[in-house]
Structure formats: C-alpha cells, structure tokens
Symmetry: C2
C-alpha cells in the first residue's frame, strides 16, 4: 500500500522514465480542462498519449464522471497492462485513482498532482473516491498509485487561493508533528513564496503523512490523526455546497483546524497561546467562514453522518499539544456549540 | 486477503456467532427475491436485521443495481462499523462484495453462498465486481469477505441445473489438482446426489482454489490457472446473452473447459483419453452450446477483449496434463478455429 514518491520539478523526464520502464501497452492521461490547457503542453512526453478530460470542480467528482472515465478507458482499449496518469488536482487524482483501481479490478496509475493540496493530501496515502448522495468521498477504495511525482513547477498556473488551500493541510501536518514545525509554518508570507524552497518544505510535510500512512494504511488507528480539522471542515464544505457558495477543501480545513483546536483546548488542555496564534494566522490569511447559531444544528447533523462517526456520535481527533494527537474523541453537542461560539469570537464574526 | 472459511450446515448458529462477536452497530442482509423467499426464513438470527433486495440474474449485476445498494446502505444509516451479509448466489456475493468494499472505502462483509457455483467460485478468493458495457466483471475490486459460510443445506431450494453449473468449477479444480480427483469427479451421478457427502467434496475442491489464491492473491501468475475454461466460457456466455438466450456461468465453463482442453491437447499434448472422457461427461450432463463457423469471428472478438488478454491477443491457461497447468499461452486465431471445429465434432453439433 505504499506509492513510490518522487520529488522533482523535472516532471517530463520523470514521467519518461516511468512510462519507458513500465512496458505498458497503452498510456492514458486523465486531465481536467485546466490541466489540459496549462500543464499538458509542458509535458512533451505525453504528446502522443490518449487523453480523457473531465470537468474540474468537486461537484463533478461523482458517479456520472466516474462512469464516463470507465467508458472511455473501455473505448480506448485499455487493458490490465495499461497505465493511467492522473494529471491534476484532487478531483483528478481521487476520481482517477478510483477509476484505475476498479477498472478490470485494477490497473496501474501514476499521480502527478498539479496543486499543493493534491500534492500534500489527495495524491499520497491511497485514498481514492467520489462524492455520493451529498457526502464527500462516500464511495471509494484504498488503492495506491505506483508512483507519485511531487513538484511545485505547475503551481504558477494556479490562482493564489489554491496555494493557501493546500497549505492548510501542511499546517495540519505541522501540528501533528512538532511545536517547532507548527511555529515555522505560521511564519509563511503568502505574498513572497519561494517556490524552490517550497518543494523542500512540502517534502518534509508529506513525510509526516507518509510515516503515519505506512504505520496504518487502512485507518485502524494512528491514521485517524490525519482527520484533524476534517470533521468540522467537511461540514463547512458541505454547508457551503448546499448554499451554492462552494469553498475550497483547504480553506474549510483551516477553519476546521481552528474549531477542533478550540475543542482540544477545552477538552484536552491544548495551550491557549498556540490556539490564538493559529486563529490569528487563519483569520489573516483565510478570512472566516460566516456562520450563525441558526446553522449549528445543521452542521452537527452533517458531522454525525461523517464516515468517521460511530453510532451517530461526532468523532474528532484532538491535540493535547502540537505533536500529541488523540484519536476517537466523542464530542457532545454542547461542546461543539461552545466551540463554534468561540470560533465566531476568534474570527470576529 | 484471506477470508475465514467455515464449512457448516448449521448456518444460523454460525451467523449468530459472527454477528454476536463482531460488535457491529448495524447488520444488513443482501438478498435476491429467491433467497428472500426460500432461504431467509430458515435463518431466524436474521429476523430483526435490515434487508436490501436486488433482482436475481446476471443481467442485474450492473452499475444501476450497485448504485441502489449504495443508496440503501446510506439510507439505512450504515457506517464503517456495519456488517453486510451477502445471502445468495454469485450475483449477490459479487455485487454485494463490491458494494461493501467501496462503501465508505470498505465495510466488513460476510458471504453466505446459497448455490454451489457461488460456494466454489464467487464466494472465495476476493474477486468482486459488476458487468459493464457488455463485459463480465469489468468493474470491480479485490476484497475479501471476513467470513464465508460454506454449506450445502440450501441447495434443495435450487433447480437441478444450478448444481451442475457449480459442479463445472469443481471439475476445473479437479483438473488443476490431480488426475485422480479428475477421474473421481467424472463418476458423479447428478440423479443421486448425497448432499451430506457433497459438503466434504466441496471442501476439498475449495481448498484447491484457496491454496492457489493464497499464493497469488492479485493474479500475477499462479492464480491465472483458475481461468482454465473461462476465456472461451466467457465468450460463450456473452454470445448467449447477446442472443437473448442466457446460459449459466457453469455451463459455459463446462463447454469452455472442453475447448481449452482441446487446445491443451493440440498445443501441449494433453492426453487424448482424458479429453474424450471430459467431452463425454460434459455432453451427457450439460448438452452442448450450438455454434456454427459463422460465429467464430464474433467469439474471437470477445476473447480478444477479455480482461486476461494482452495487446489484443487471446490468452488461455492450458494443461500439459491434469495437475500440470501452464499460464499465459497466446492462442492464434487458427488454433481457436481448429479447436472450435473439434468441439463441434466431440459434441455432435
């Protein structure tokens, strides 16, 4: 269940080695309209390959799109000896990974994440899937890409918000790792990003995740720590989608991190100074997700339906401190409501 | 990738132990209209569980049915701590296995095969899936049931043809195992089946498969031997479906075994005496699948699209003799046509 991770900004040469060394009878590239236009032309090695294009956007990470990818793989004559290259953000790598893992019971696939979020999150760790009945990643399988090529060279094709979105997952990894890493990340200035340096920071961030996934590939225990920020984050994402004002996954995670850190402070004694630093960083760089107390019951309902919930109870990963995660905490409705109140205070809502 | 296999005709008590010992928050039983009516009432332990019913028949092993199972699991409030019990033949165990393996990226499932075919084939070995675009099991995953309860006590609910259908897979296992087992199976008299004894024979037959699957769970090599009879068999099944005269999987495998044994004789020197014994047994008990030379090109086309094919070439497992399988043989169109000619002779078509 482990992918081969390659950190390189020479993606064309890296892909060339993979495609050349794999003895594949067909290489198919999965793109969305953005990566087709902006990224594909930078990869001459993929000039003569077959292309499947899907529409960007989380709302297209669904069964209809998955079915169309299966159909196109079929029509292109893909076999078990074919390779699927997922070239895009998390929608492409999640849906493409699931398509590859289920087509003829599994063909090889390579992930080339083109967003920071996909690099740090979706492209590593073997989670694939689609949204279903309004629930995120509700249908999916655990399946690892043969190779994941991690680069920062395509991030210039993205709007600045995309970078912040991915950075939220790095923030989470920092909090799971050490107090030092956490403080270092808070010094980031999004107006002056050094993309050369970012590949190095990204590598150490991914290694935090990789260590956790290797110890617990199918999420029996330790891996649940990676859900930090996600129970509340997913609920915000779903609410935003329902209100037809979708927010990016990373922004939702940033806000979710604040609320779950509030809970960590309330329940596990997480240091208040670090909570305030985090809240300040998130408010400054991500703004805030506007909620009122009228939204609380709705949000709680979504949290109860989360994949991580058990017996309809809300389940969160909490932190005693940076680097000291605690899994499988059941959170009462009262505590969630109190944390949402504090979040609104901290964010000035 | 190994299921816990339990051989017992006291299915109710066995299920009771599994459900009681598993700490599941919800147990859902997947049935078809036949097992709901004929088998479910014999299992009082399942009296108070939730039921999902799908329509029997291979034509319903499709994405529409899979989607409806996902939806019903969702509506019943199934979580990662829920259990799906697949109570039925191969359609129920294949589709139910895939539903469970993909719902929330995988929940526990138990297979209770109610046909000989499902017991000997579909319920063991971790292959799940659905048909797609006219191709059998085209979409699926490798995923093992936690437990498989193998019994013969429900076979009295089946038409006699069902028993013969499952027996074809046992015949295949016999040919892969030893000459002695092969000859023993040919002595079977379908008019006088001892169901008590059948559970023992079934156990040794399943153990042949189990040994192979344990050595090669993801079909890199040895497991391909289990495809014996299936390259041609699947083509017959598809043709029958296209002609709106579906044949059961096992019958197609029986005919496929004859043709692939003809190929084994032609190419690898499989003993002619055993070929004639096999052909005689199949003709007597299964009749013959009527084809003319006008069908050859169509059948070859399907074989080229088989999951096992590489570069559009027809790939078969062949036998040097009983117990001596050889995988990854590329078969020429001329050899296939010659084998189909000989099959028609042997079957008196």
């Amino acid at each position: 269940m482990i992918s081969n991770l390659i950190y390189s900004n020479d993606v064309d040469a890296t892909l060339n080695a993979i495609v050349g060394g794999g003895n594949y009878n067909l290489v198919v590239v999965l793109v969305d309209e953005n990566t087709r236009q902006l990224v594909l032309p930078r990869l001459p090695i993929l000039n003569n390959t077959q292309i499947i294009e899907i529409q960007s956007g989380d709302e297209n990470k669904n069964l209809t799109t998955l079915k169309s990818v299966w159909q196109q793989l079929e029509n292109l004559g893909a076999t078990r000896q074919s390779l699927l290259v997922n070239l895009g953000g998390g929608v492409v790598t999640d849906l493409g990974g699931m398509a590859a893992a289920t087509f003829k019971r599994g063909i090889h696939f390579v992930n080339v994440p083109t967003t920071l979020l996909a690099a740090v999150d979706a492209a590593v760790g073997g989670k694939t899937g689609i949204n279903f009945m309004g629930l995120k990643n509700e249908i999916g399988v655990f399946a690892c890409a043969e190779d994941v090529i991690v680069s920062t060279c395509f991030f210039d094709t993205l709007p600045p918000e995309e970078l912040k979105s991915g950075f939220a997952e790095m923030l989470k990894h920092g909090m799971l790792s050490t107090h030092e890493e956490f403080l270092q990340l808070l010094e980031t200035d999004f107006d002056n990003i050094d993309f050369e340096n970012l590949l190095k920071i990204l590598q150490s961030s991914i290694q935090v995740k990789q260590r956790i996934v290797e110890e617990d590939p199918t999420e029996k225990g330790l891996r649940k720590t990676l859900n930090l920020g996600h129970t509340v984050g997913h609920a915000f994402e779903m609410k935003a989608l329902d209100d037809s004002k979708p927010v990016s996954h990373g922004y939702a995670v940033a806000w979710g991190l604040v609320i779950e850190t509030v809970l960590s402070h309330m329940i596990k004694g997480f240091p208040s100074a670090d909570l305030y630093s985090l809240a300040n960083f998130v408010r400054t760089n991500y703004g805030s997700f506007k909620i009122t107390c009228d939204d609380y019951d709705y949000l709680i309902g979504i949290m109860r339906h989360d994949k991580k919930s058990y017996n309809g109870e809300i389940n969160c990963t909490l932190l005693k401190a940076c680097g000291e995660p605690l899994i499988d905490n059941t959170i009462s409705d009262d505590d969630i409501k109190a944390a949402l109140d504090i979040y609104r205070d901290l964010m000035g809502i």
